[in-house]
């Protein structure tokens, strides 16, 4: 597995360090989904700060990871999207609404804290 998945309290943190092939992305999705159930995680952070490129497949997969994670009981926050990557992503014409984002790991953690304590709010 080319992505290190760390556990921090109730949260899992997956830090993607290298460009992933399509099959590796799917592998990551399955691995995360399985781990969330196993450790009963309530939140998932995916850090993509090291990526210079996020293609449409990866972007779509991040969305499906977020949805899968929610079904398994964890909220997902994507963090570390670079400006160029953000510009490219909004041009894919994908529905990125399922992706919750934060500027960095700190932000992502406090966002997850709010999401998981806030009794749902209007976000879920």
């Amino acid at each position: 597995m080319s992505v290190a998945i760390l556990r921090q309290g109730d949260y899992l943190i997956a830090s993607i360090q290298v460009d992933l092939s399509d099959s590796q992305v799917l592998e990551l999705r399955d691995e995360l989904s399985e781990r969330i159930g196993r450790v009963r995680a309530r939140g998932l952070i995916i850090d993509v700060a090291a990526l210079d490129v996020i293609d449409s497949f990866v972007a779509r997969s991040l969305g499906s990871i977020a949805i899968t994670a929610r079904l398994r009981g964890a909220e997902t926050v994507i963090t570390g999207i670079e400006p160029d990557v953000a510009i490219a992503m909004v041009q894919f014409d994908l529905d990125l609404a399922p992706l919750r984002t934060a500027l960095d790991l700190d932000e992502a953690l406090s966002l997850l804290d709010r999401l998981t304590q806030g009794a749902g709010e209007d976000e879920a």
């Binding site: 400006p83 609404a97 934060a102 966002l111 976000e123």
Partner: protein, 301 residues
């Protein structure tokens, strides 16, 4: 222009021997009569009222340099020196308001002055005159093209630089307080500017760790579909980076246009004016500091 430049460039290196020797003769002639021809040229320039912004002394000194470069270029067939000089000259005279037609005019005048002098010199021998002109004309035309193209290119470079400078100036990203940026947009939004604006905004979000950005478009009169979609994409890209964007100051005309164009505004959080936008921003940063405020379900009002 470029094509012409190239088609002129090719034949010169392998110019036939006859033409070479003729060219040498003609160059020698032009050197011998340098003073008169130069004066004749200056007189014609003055007469045609070209280069009005320059003093006669300046004209004379530039004319001397151009003349010598011109003759050198005729002799060697290499236009590089002349090209460099033309660029340098353009750089000096463009800020003073010299127009393209003036530059073209003076180059063509020199060509005419020299052609006429050659005509006078060799008119006794029609055959020789023909061959001299055969050697002279392509070289002279090529030089004229080179000088004009250099001038135009220099102008275009200056214009590009100025456009760049205006763009830089026209989209300041201001930090109002910790983690809150304002981007006031004034003037015409075209897609180049919209794109550049997006890049600047996203860079600033990253650099300042911004949580909320207020994009104020009070100063924008009209908007078209491309730009509207750009704006939507900017908001979405800002969100991907973890910042909420608030659009303020949509005029009723623009609001109407956006509705008519059918732009998907579900992702846009809009507030009437800048003041309201800042209040909303404070609220987002303050007690409900959520980074994904522009999600559709939260984007209601």
């Amino acid at each position: 222009m470029n094509q012409e430049d190239q088609s002129h460039e090719d034949p010169s290196p392998q110019m036939p021997e006859v033409d070479r020797s003729l060219l040498h003769e003609l160059v020698a002639y032009l050197r011998d009569n340098r003073t008169e021809l130069r004066e004749e040229w200056v007189a014609r320039i003055t007469q045609a009222q070209l280069l009005g912004v320059m003093t006669p002394e300046e004209i004379f000194s530039e004319v001397t340099a151009v003349y010598d470069n011109y003759v050198d270029a005729l002799e060697t067939g290499s236009i590089e020196t002349l090209q460099a000089y033309a660029r340098d000259l353009s750089e000096r005279i463009i800020p003073r308001g010299v127009e393209t037609h003036e530059v073209l005019g003076i180059v063509l005048l020199l060509r005419d002055v020299l052609a006429r002098a050659l005509f006078v010199e060799y008119q006794r021998d029609a055959d020789l005159l023909n061959r001299i002109l055969d050697a002279y004309e392509p070289a002279a035309n090529r030089i004229a093209v080179t000088v004009s193209v250099s001038f135009v290119e220099e102008r275009e470079r200056v214009i590009r630089e100025q456009q760049e400078a205006i763009r830089e100036l026209s989209t300041p990203v201001l930090q109002v307080r910790d983690r809150l940026l304002i981007l006031p947009i004034i003037g015409v939004l075209d897609s180049a500017r919209a794109r550049q604006l997006t890049e600047q905004l996203l860079g600033a979000i990253q650099a300042n760790r911004a949580k909320v950005v207020v994009i104020d478009i009070t100063g924008v009169a009209t908007i078209d579909l491309t730009v509207a979609n750009h704006l939507v994409q900017t908001v979405e890209a800002a969100r991907l980076m973890g910042a909420s964007a608030i659009i303020t100051g949509l005029s009723s005309k623009i609001a109407q246009t956006l509705v008519d164009l059918g732009v998907d505004l579900s992702m846009m959080r809009t507030v009437g004016d800048l003041q309201g936008g800042l209040e909303e921003a404070e609220r987002l940063i303050g007690h409900r500091p959520t980074a994904k405020g522009s999600r559709p379900d939260a984007a209601a009002p």
